[in-house]
Symmetry: C2
Subunit: 383 residues, 2 copies
C-alpha cells in the first residue's frame, strides 16, 4: 500500500514538534530511480502558499528526486520569509541526501498565516532522512494528517508494476485543480509527459469532483513520481486507468473523513446539455447549505435541490426537472412526484439524482452534509 508499494521508493514519517499534540508531522518520500520522471497539479486558488509556488516551479522540469511534507503549518500568506523557509527546507533535504534542491518538492498543510518554526522543522527533516525505509509509506501517510481522523492510502497497478498513493484532507475541501496533499508513486517506466497526461485526466474526474465544503485551499497539491524500477512500461491507457483508480479511491476516502460530516452525498446530474452545465448544476447543489442541512436531517427536501438548480446558467426548463433521492423520484416535471415518505436516508451514503432533460451529459460530484460538528470543529479553534 501507499507510496512505498512501488519499487524504487523510500519514505519516512516523524514527529518534529510542529503539532502541539506531539503527533508525527514531517514526511519524506524519496525516489531512488532509475527514472526520476514526475508530474504535478496544484490549487487554482490565486492566493497560493509558498510551497505551492516552489513545487509548481520545480516540477516544470519533469523530474523529482524527493518530496518533503509537513503538517502543523500551511506556510501560506507568509510573505518572503515563508518562501525562504520553503527553499531552506528543500535545500536541507538536498544536502542530507546529496540531491539537487531544484528537484525536491515541498508540501505544507495546517494554519494559514503563521511562519513555520524552522528550529523544529529542520531537525525534523534530519530525523526523517535518517528514518527512510522501503516500507515507510504508512508512517509518511500518518505524518501528513491534520484534522483527518484516519490516514488515507491506496494502490492499483498491472502486471509487474503498481501505482500507490497517500492523501490528507478533511476541510477547506473543494477542488480547483486538486484539493489537498496527495503523493502518488509508481515503479512503472513512464516518461514525464505521459505522467502529466494521466494525472490531469485522473484528477479531472476524481479530486475535481469532490466538494466537501466549497472552500478551495491555498495549498492543494497532487504529485506523481515514477521510479521505473519495475522495468515495465505499461500501455498509456492501462497506466492512466490505474492512476485514476488510485485517485478515485483516495478522493472517496477524503469525502468519507470530511470534518464533522455524517453523510457522503453523491450528486448525480443527468441529461445535461454538456459536461460544463452538468458540473455547474452539481456544484451548485453540493454547495447549498440548506440542501446540506436537509440531508443531515434525513429530510428529502427536493425543493432545495430545485432552488439550487435555478441559480445556475445551465440549459434546462424548470417544468421538466426530475429529482430522485436514493432512487425515489420525489420531483417529476418540476413538481411533486413520488411520495417523499418512501425515501430511506438512514445510511451514510445518499444519492441525489437531478435529471435536466436537456441532453446526454452526466457527472457525479461527491459532497457532505452540513452538521453542528462541522461548525464546532471550524469555530472552536483555528485550523
Amino acid at each position: 500500500m501507499t507510496v512505498t508499494a512501488a519499487k524504487g521508493f523510500r519514505a519516512a514519517g516523524v514527529a518534529a514538534g510542529l503539532k502541539t499534540t506531539g503527533a508525527p508531522d514531517v514526511a519524506l518520500v524519496v525516489n531512488d530511480g532509475p527514472s526520476l520522471a514526475a508530474a504535478g497539479v496544484f490549487t487554482s486558488n490565486r492566493v497560493q502558499a509558498a510551497p505551492v509556488q516552489w513545487s509548481r516551479q520545480v516540477v516544470t522540469g519533469g523530474q523529482l528526486q524527493a518530496v518533503i511534507l509537513n503538517s502543523g503549518g500551511a506556510n501560506a500568506c507568509t510573505g518572503a520569509e515563508g518562501f525562504q523557509n520553503t527553499h531552506k527546507t528543500a535545500e536541507r533535504v538536498a544536502e542530507l541526501l546529496e540531491l539537487n534542491a531544484g528537484e525536491v518538492a515541498v508540501c505544507s498543510t495546517g494554519l494559514i498565516g503563521v511562519q513555520l518554526p524552522m528550529d523544529k522543522l529542520v531537525p525534523g527533516v534530519d530525523a526523517a532522512a535518517a528514518a527512510l525505509t522501503a516500507d515507510g509509506g504508512e508512517a509518511a501517510a500518518i505524518a501528513i494528517k491534520t484534522t483527518d481522523t484516519v490516514h488515507k492510502v491506496a494502490v492499483s497497478g498491472g502486471d509487474g508494476w503498481v501505482v500507490g498513493g497517500m492523501a490528507k484532507g478533511a476541510g477547506m475541501l473543494a477542488p480547483g485543480l486538486a484539493t489537498m496533499l496527495v503523493v502518488l508513486t509508481t515503479d512503472a517506466d513512464v516518461p514525464a509527459e505521459q505522467l502529466d497526461a494521466a494525472l490531469r485526466a485522473a484528477t479531472h474526474t476524481t479530486f475535481d469532483r469532490i466538494d466537501s465544503d466549497g472552500c478551495m485551499s491555498t495549498n492543494d497539491t497532487v504529485l506523481l513520481l515514477a521510479s521505473g524500477a519495475s522495468g515495465v512500461a505499461p500501455a498509456a491507457a492501462e497506466f492512466a486507468e490505474a492512476v485514476r483508480v488510485v485517485c478515485d479511491d483516495l478522493a472517496r476516502q477524503l469525502i468519507g473523513d470530511a470534518e464533522g460530516a455524517g453523510k457522503d452525498i453523491a450528486i448525480e446530474v443527468e441529461g445535461a446539455a454538456n459536461e460544463a452545465d452538468a458540473l455547474e448544476v452539481a456544484r451548485s447543489i453540493a454547495r447549498n447549505n440548506l440542501f446540506k442541512c436537509a440531508i443531515h436531517g434525513e429530510d428529502p427536501n427536493w425543493g432545495r435541490v430545485l432552488s439550487a438548480i435555478g441559480t445556475t446558467g445551465a440549459e434546462f426548463d424548470a417544468d421538466r426537472l426530475d429529482v430522485a433521492i436514493n432512487g425515489v423520484w420525489v420531483c417529476k416535471g418540476g413538481a411533486v412526484g413520488e411520495d417523499r415518505d418512501l425515501v430511506d436516508m438512514g445510511g451514510r451514503e445518499v444519492r441525489v439524482t437531478a435529471r435536466l432533460n436537456a441532453g446526454d451529459a452526466a457527472v457525479t460530484v461527491w459532497t457532505n452534509d452540513l452538521t453542528a460538528e462541522y461548525v464546532h470543529e471550524n469555530s472552536a479553534y483555528s485550523s
Copy 2:
C-alpha cells in the same frame, strides 16, 4: 409604521390555519388611491414560484390595487395546479373588493413543493378582506412571518408624505434581485416609471447586498405601491432616498434576524478595480463556510478571508492584500500584520475589511456567521 403609515392604504393579517401553529398566515394590503401606480422586483432564480410568475406579469401594467400574501406554503414547484391556485386567490380578492384580478399581486412563502390548502386559504382571504383597516399594517407584517422571530417594519418620508414597508425573511436569504417578501407603500404622488427606478436603485444597494446563507429563494418579491393620497409629488432624488432608507432598514432587520445567526457581519471590500470586482470578492467571503464558522468562534482567522478572495477573478495582487477585523489590520501585504490578539469580536456586529489595492471601488455586503443553531433549524424539519 409599516404599510399603513402612508395614507390611502388599508391592511389586515389573519389566521387561516395554513400554519399548524395557528399563528396568523394571511395578509392583505389594499391601495384605495387615488393613484394605483406600482413597481416590483423579483427573484432571479430560474425556478420561480407560481405567485412570482403571476405577480411579475401583473406588475408590468404599472398598477396594483391589492397584494394578498400568505405564509405557511411557498406554492413553488407546484406545477399547473399551483399556478391555478395563485390565480384563484387573486380572483377571490378581486371578487370581494370589486377589483380587477389583473391588478392583484400574490406573494407566498413557506415550504417548497407542497400545494396550498385552498379550503383554508380562500376563507382566510375572506376573513382578511373583512378585517381591512387603516391601521392594519402591523397585523399584516405579523402574518407574513415564517421562521422570523420578529416582524420587520420601517418608515421614512418627507414633508407631507411617507414611505412605509414590511418584510419577512430569515433563511434562503441571498439576493438575486430581491430576497424575501417585501411590500412598500407610499402616499406620495409618483408615476410607475419613477417608482420602478427608485425601487431598482434602492434594492441594488440594500437587499442585493445582504447574503445570509448564499441560498437564493424561488419566491423573492419586493413591491412598491403608491396611493398619491398625500397629494405631494416629491422630487425624484428625495423620493428615491426615502425608498432606499426604508429598504436599507428592512434589509438590516432581515440580517439581524437570520436563522440561527449569532453575528451580523459587514464585509467591506475597498480598493477594488470596479464595483463588480468588489461585489464578487465580498460575496465570495460572505459565502465561505469556514470564514463564517471562524467569526462564530470569534476567531480572527484572516487566512480564510484570503483563501476566499483567491477563488475570485477580481483584479488584485496576492502580495498587496490587506485585511482588518473590527479595525485591526491583521493582514498586511498578503502576510501577517498587526497582532490578532488585539481583535475584540465580542459584539453581535463584526466588520471585516478587505482592501484589494487595485482601484477605488468599494461595496459592503452583510452576512451572518454559521452556527450549530442554523444547522439545527434547517435539518430538524422541512422549511
